[in-house]
């Protein structure tokens, strides 16, 4: 294994044990730079706890989470290295958006003018002097992203950033994050919204019950799980079709509502096999595995409240 680049996120056997709950359980994965990585899992899977350990806010019970080989607390200039958006509502209600950003600038030794630049970037300039309590959830998310961008960091970490954004806001954020990754930055985005990740992420890390379920490029994870193409067929002659298809070295599994799912053969081949065997078909359709289905399969039985 090659030495980690300085902007690569390395999570290594990370564990967090609360009194009765193992929130994160021996979790290891890597996040490469120049790509958007989706950190996926049902609610309560340990995503937020993992991110908080990565950012030095929560102490791990065991294992490490580092940027390159440095822990967040050991970074020389954390605001310029890593930007994070953790909670949408983490600002003082009585403080204006601009002052919230200036407060960070002062603590981080950045010029006050940076706050106006990032406000412009996220489109909040008109609301800059409004108090935080008057912000909508979408505006709070934008302010969070503005705060994360203050130091122009090479690594961005966002916890459920799509929460509260309208469709236009979601598209805006998707474009922004893709552009940032395109500039070679590392972008890690947690979410339980799978459809959004399918459009946004290059890589995915899937967790459930604090454990790693699967990681890799989106296409590959999708492909692995669905075995490529799945063909759904419906027939009154189940046995005859199964026999005919076994000659194609395709496997047949029971599908929903009495249908059959054929793995490892194209729709045309399945149709031809049925025709030659004289099997009557009522339905023949190609299904591509989408992340949502893969996710539900992968995390089945582990998504409940713990």
């Amino acid at each position: 294994m090659s030495a980690p680049g300085t902007d690569e996120i390395v999570v290594d056997h990370l564990t967090k044990q609360y009194k009765k709950l193992r929130a994160v359980d021996d979790l290891s994965f890597r996040v490469r730079s120049g790509r958007v990585t989706g950190f996926l899992g049902p609610n309560g899977a340990g995503k937020t706890t993992t991110l908080r350990m990565l950012l030095g806010l929560v102490a791990p019970t065991a294992g490490t989470a580092t940027f390159g080989d440095q822990r967040y607390a050991d970074l020389h200039d954390p605001v310029r290295r890593v930007g994070a958006v953790l909670e949408a509502s983490s600002a003082h209600r009585g403080r204006t958006g601009r002052n919230h950003l200036r407060m960070i600038c002062r603590a981080a030794g950045l010029p006050d003018t940076r706050s106006d630049e990032v406000l412009e970037m996220v489109g909040l300039t008109p609301a800059a002097n409004r108090k935080f309590k008057g912000y909508s959830l979408g505006m709070k998310q934008r302010l969070g992203i503005a705060a994360a961008m203050l130091g122009d960091p090479r690594v961005l970490i966002l916890d459920e950033p799509a929460n509260g954004l309208d469709p236009e806001g979601i598209r805006w954020m998707r474009d922004l994050l893709k552009a940032l990754a395109g500039q070679g930055r590392t972008v890690l985005v947690s979410s339980h919204l799978l459809g959004e990740m399918q459009l946004l992420a290059d890589d995915v890390v899937i967790v459930a019950a604090g454990k790693l379920i699967r990681q890799g490029p989106v296409d590959q994870v999708l492909g692995d799980m669905s075995g490529g193409v799945v063909v759904r067929v419906r027939t009154p002659q189940t046995e005859a079709l199964t026999t005919a298809l076994s000659e194609l070295s395709a496997t047949v599994t029971p599908g929903p509502e009495g249908s059959l799912l054929v793995h490892g053969a194209e729709a045309a081949a399945v149709g031809h096999a049925a025709f030659t065997a004289g099997v009557e078909l009522h339905e023949l359709a190609t299904e591509r595995g989408d992340l949502e289905q893969v996710f539900l399969q992968l995390t089945a039985g582990k998504a409940g409240i713990r």
Partner: protein, 274 residues
């Protein structure tokens, strides 16, 4: 220093500071009037049923120099209360408004953050001290003339009391930050501190009075261990009969400030921020 600056910026950019200021002004005015009224009492006659120590204390308190130190440090009681609450809120508001995450992401070395908060509390303490002291220097000389005692501003003891008053404000600010870390809930912290400070010091005086009256007189010397009594003692003009020397008051307050300061920093370092 930029972190202290950031902490003061946090205080400046919410409405808390001027609300506290508005609360302080009438309380300050009341303190001056009460101190003035107390300076007008006369020595009780010998058969008034007070103990020797008490009458000696009253006599001492009526000496011009002690009247002067008392009046020139008017507003200490409520000024310190405001500083105490502001200092505690500097810490608790981070958890109340969930800004602790932002703060510790910006500055992952948590001891630096707490240290900056101590710094900010010292600045706030000195600011409130400066305001009350300037007001006292304007308001008190006419009162002293009215009492026919002269302004007493030539007396080093007066200036020493004013200086020690500044120390009291600073130490209570540090105490407030420590208390804010220990009691993280904003509502609990402000209520507990305000009640202990206001009611507590009266209750403690009563308890010590009864103990020294009915158990042993030396117990009243232990009253200096109560922070409010310690700061009262520290600013008294001369050593009052029956009380420990003034430096004991300073030592007690510094002790509390150090203990809460270290405990607070240690706790903040090991806590999970979620």
């Amino acid at each position: 220093m930029s972190l202290v600056n950031a902490e003061l910026f946090k205080v400046r950019t919410t409405s808390l500071w001027w609300i506290m200021g508005l609360v302080l002004l009438p309380l300050y005015a009341a303190s001056v009037l009460v101190n003035w009224a107390n300076s007008n009492v006369t020595t009780p006659p010998d058969d008034a049923g007070v103990t020797d120590t008490q009458s000696a204390q009253i006599e001492a308190a009526l000496e011009p120099i002690n009247v002067a130190t008392n009046l020139y440090t008017s507003g200490q009681f409520f000024g310190i209360l405001i500083v105490l609450l502001l200092s505690a809120i500097i810490v608790t508001s981070e958890f109340f408004h969930l800004t602790a995450t932002t703060t510790f992401l910006t500055t992952p070395r948590r001891e630096s953050v707490i240290l900056a908060k101590f710094g900010a509390a010292v600045v706030i303490g000195l600011a409130v001290w400066l305001i009350t002291t300037v007001l006292n220097l304007i308001v008190v000389p006419p009162i002293m003339n009215n009492l026919e005692l002269g302004s007493q501003l030539g007396e080093p003891a007066v200036w020493r009391a004013i200086g020690l008053n500044a120390l009291a404000f600073v130490l209570w600010g540090v105490l407030g930050v420590g208390a804010g870390v220990l009691i993280r809930s904003q509502i609990a912290a402000t209520l507990i501190l305000a009640i202990t400070y206001v009611v507590g010091s009266a209750a403690v005086s009563l308890i010590f009075f009864l103990l020294s009256e009915y158990v042993a007189e030396w117990i009243s010397n232990l009253q200096v261990l109560v922070p409010t009594s310690a700061s009262q003692l520290m600013i008294s003009g001369t050593d009052l009969p029956g009380s420990p020397p003034r430096w004991v008051g300073a030592v007690v307050l510094i002790g509390y400030a150090i203990v809460t300061g270290f405990l607070g920093t240690w706790l903040t370092k090991r806590r999970d921020i979620s």
